[in-house]
């Protein structure tokens, strides 16, 4: 009994409820005529699509910058990379590689400035990040209208005023990772090997970095800035580095997302990326100050699993579409839980 209680308090009650809920959904699925195979296939696909963006939370949490509500900056860098790659007319692997490379370059640039900003507002990072993210999305929306893009795939047809809201990547690099070595089992199950490999690769890179001397310094800077400073670590530099790293992962994440989704969503698209990623890592067991790669995998799987399963299963049971509401309550409830819990522990 004691051990169970300990496990519950360590793991967090909300997390356990969510995990049980997901299991329940999978168990219930066959009874309401939902195919487990296709559900699982969907879950895995979304897991791969969103994973790197969730991973983008890790460096900043490690260095003590809190939850990365500034993810939209990375997403914007990703959008810039993708659109420029298309503008250059590159297709296939070359196009995707160019998109990713450009995205990373932009992200490094934006992340650097963003990191410098966050260093000057220590303690208020999360709220400021949220609004910096939002204002850069709207600023970029102006950009999408005025930037001199020419590619007919992207520019509005006759008006010629700025880029389309959604741009199809079908003719360029649609599902280029998903289809790489994809494994098909039965009719309804596809394993997007390439994309999962990309996710694992990114996760491995983060893991590797955290095990380097400099990565250890970043962890120490987040765990106890005063200790790190006394050990001769430049805490501000570590934080800037982590923000650059997070932003680059965010940029890479959105490009991987786009190739799987098949479309680039401009303008207000980036708005919807942040909260699910934040919520996912928290569901995976991270807190505002601690996060591991395992949290990323578990959290992304649980959260995306719920997003995939609720529309199909709940809707067949209740004959009504509750999925949106459940998404809102679960993701924001999780963030709220993390924000209010940490203060209690700190006392």
């Amino acid at each position: 009994m004691e051990r169970i209680r300990e496990f519950v308090s360590d793991f967090g009650l909300p997390r356990i409820i969510i995990a049980l809920f997901l299991v329940l959904l999978f168990v219930a699925a066959p009874f309401v005529g939902v195919s487990v195979a296709s559900s699982l296939s969907n879950t895995i696909a979304r897991f791969g699509m969103n994973g790197i963006m969730v991973l983008a939370m890790v460096p900043m949490i490690h260095s003590g910058c809190g939850l990365n509500f500034g993810l939209p900056l990375g997403v914007i860098a990703g959008l810039l990379g993708a659109t420029i790659s298309i503008e250059m007319g590159l297709v296939g692997a070359a196009g995707f590689a160019a998109a990713a490379a450009l995205a990373l370059a932009f992200a490094a640039l934006l992340g650097y400035g963003y990191g410098k900003l966050l260093n000057r507002v220590k303690g208020d990072e999360m709220m400021i990040a949220t609004y910096v993210g939002f204002s850069s999305i709207t600023l970029m929306s102006i950009g999408w209208i005025v930037l001199p893009y020419q590619s007919p795939t992207m520019v509005w047809g006759f008006e010629g005023e700025g880029l389309r809201t959604t741009i199809s990547v079908e003719a360029f690099w649609d599902k280029i990772l998903n289809d790489f070595l994809a494994v098909r089992i039965g009719e309804r199950f596809v394993f997007p090997t390439g994309m999962i490999l990309a996710f694992c690769g990114a996760a491995l890179a983060v893991w590797f970095f955290l095990h380097l001397k400099s990565g250890s310094a970043m962890t120490a800077a987040g765990s106890n800035p005063a200790y790190a400073r006394a050990s001769g670590i430049d805490v501000d530099r570590m934080r800037t580095g982590s923000v650059v790293f997070s932003t680059m992962l965010g940029a890479l994440g959105i490009v991987v997302y786009q190739q799987s989704f098949g479309f680039i969503q401009l303008y207000e698209g980036p708005f919807s990326m942040t909260f699910p990623s934040v919520a996912a890592i928290l569901i995976g067991g991270a807190s505002v100050t601690k996060a591991s790669i395992a949290n990323v995998f578990l959290g992304t799987f649980l959260f995306q699993g719920i997003l995939t399963m609720t529309p199909s299963v709940i809707n067949s049971v209740l004959k009504t579409d509750l999925s949106e509401v459940i998404r809102i309550i679960v993701s924001n409830g999780m963030i709220l839980y993390a924000l209010t819990r940490k203060t209690k522990v700190a006392k």
Binding site: H211, S216, A220, S223, A226, Y227, A230, S231, G232, I233
Partner: protein
Amino acid sequence: MLSLRGVGKQYNGTRVLEGVSFDVMPGQIVGLVGENGAGKTTLMRILFGMGVIAETGGYEGSVLLDGREVRFKSPFDALAAGIGMVHQEFSLIPGFTATENILLNRESTRPNILVDLFGDRMSVLDRATMGLRSRKAIERLGVPLDPDTQVREMPVGHKQFTEIARELDREQVRLLVLDEPSAVLAESEAETLLAAMRKLAEQGIAIVFISHRLREVLEVADKVVVLRDGRLVKEAENESLSLRDLASLMVGRSFEGSSEARRPAERPSGAGFLEVEGLWVDMPGETVRDLSFSVAEGEIFGIGGLAGQGKLGVPNGVMGLFAAGGSVRLGGEAVPLNAPRRALEAGMAFVSEDRRGVGLLLDEGIDWNVCFSAMQLRDLAVRPLLGGLFKWRSDSAMRAVAEEYVRALDIKCTSVRQRAGNLSGGNQQKVCLAKAFALEPRLLFVSEPTRGIDVGAKRLVLDEIRRVNRERGTTIVMVSSELEELRLICDRIAIVDEGRLAGILAPEAPVEEFGLLMSGLGGRAAAPGAPAAPGRP
């Protein structure tokens, strides 16, 4: 009026106060004097019914007010009984005027209809009456304080007066406890304060005056009570005491037993190895203003002084952890300030007094705590990958190093993976020492090495410090509030008072010399009124 009868207190089996009895008469000023840890704070906590006392098992003996025993459950009960307290730190709202602060949460109000509906807090403040009340309180104090000035715009002395006036607004106030009220004041302000205290005493208010400025105590108090190690060692009328008596009573303990410090002839001397000149450090609560000293190679140099006088600021400033200025040279080479890394690279290491805040990564294991600084500084437990392109952290090498120190320092733990936050105080301190040793420094600052650890562990920690000094030749600068421990192992001891060097003494110097230096008298007891003297050569 107030009588303490055999008051005692233990915290978790550690006795901090024992059998303290004394009386305070109406209109009497009682000077309460004692070193840090002598029990002054605990005594005041008992008097005020602070929650921490009840939580840790209450106290022994009794507190009598007008002959009747009282046992306050909270500070508010004490206030209601007419006891007021002015703390060392200001407890004022910066954006409020003096009046608003004096009457904080005791404002005069006028009721209105909403009061009946929603309760007292809907009543409107009666500013006119409030102004009258605050003026009256200020008048009783007899100081020039404008009731309409905002606290943030006041000079520091006026803030202190505002605090005292707040206590005076309570009509029933009969006893006032002033905890180091003059510590932050300029000399002229301190004079005004003493005059105000006398004026209050004339009005029949009793005052307990806690201060380390012995001269001020002797100047104003009717009676002096000296605490040492939790016991009352002296209760005497003021006239019968001299500064020298008081200083020696406060520091106490004539030098017992054999000093384990080196004999004078064996002490390292020679050209300054560490030379500090004109150092100032902006460390909150431990400000260093202007300090110069020199340490010989291989020496164990002690820095003592009362809490808040700046001794802790010295290592924190030299190591670059707080904003500092002045010049520091190690082995003849200048060490830049405000750059922790440069200080470490110069060969200095620091065991911080703030173990949990600065010294340790509480959420990480012993291995991380021991190795991290050395890893960052001199690539301990680092394996180069791809010809040095990446520097891989070798967890197994870290464990091996940590295990070595766990054995050498006898750190009690389940494994080197145990979180530092779960260790006992003594073992945490050993981890901090191991961390510093792993840096293999030429000069080691050790700050309050035995604070908050049990007696057995104290012994071990001091032995380790001495061992590293003898075996590795590491020069040690040890900062401590415990004079005894400084006298036990140091070759020379500097006393810091009000951010300046009060003097440097040999460990076997008479104890009252130390006491006088700590009390801002700089060995010039014959000339009261002299400001803290700059360092004696």
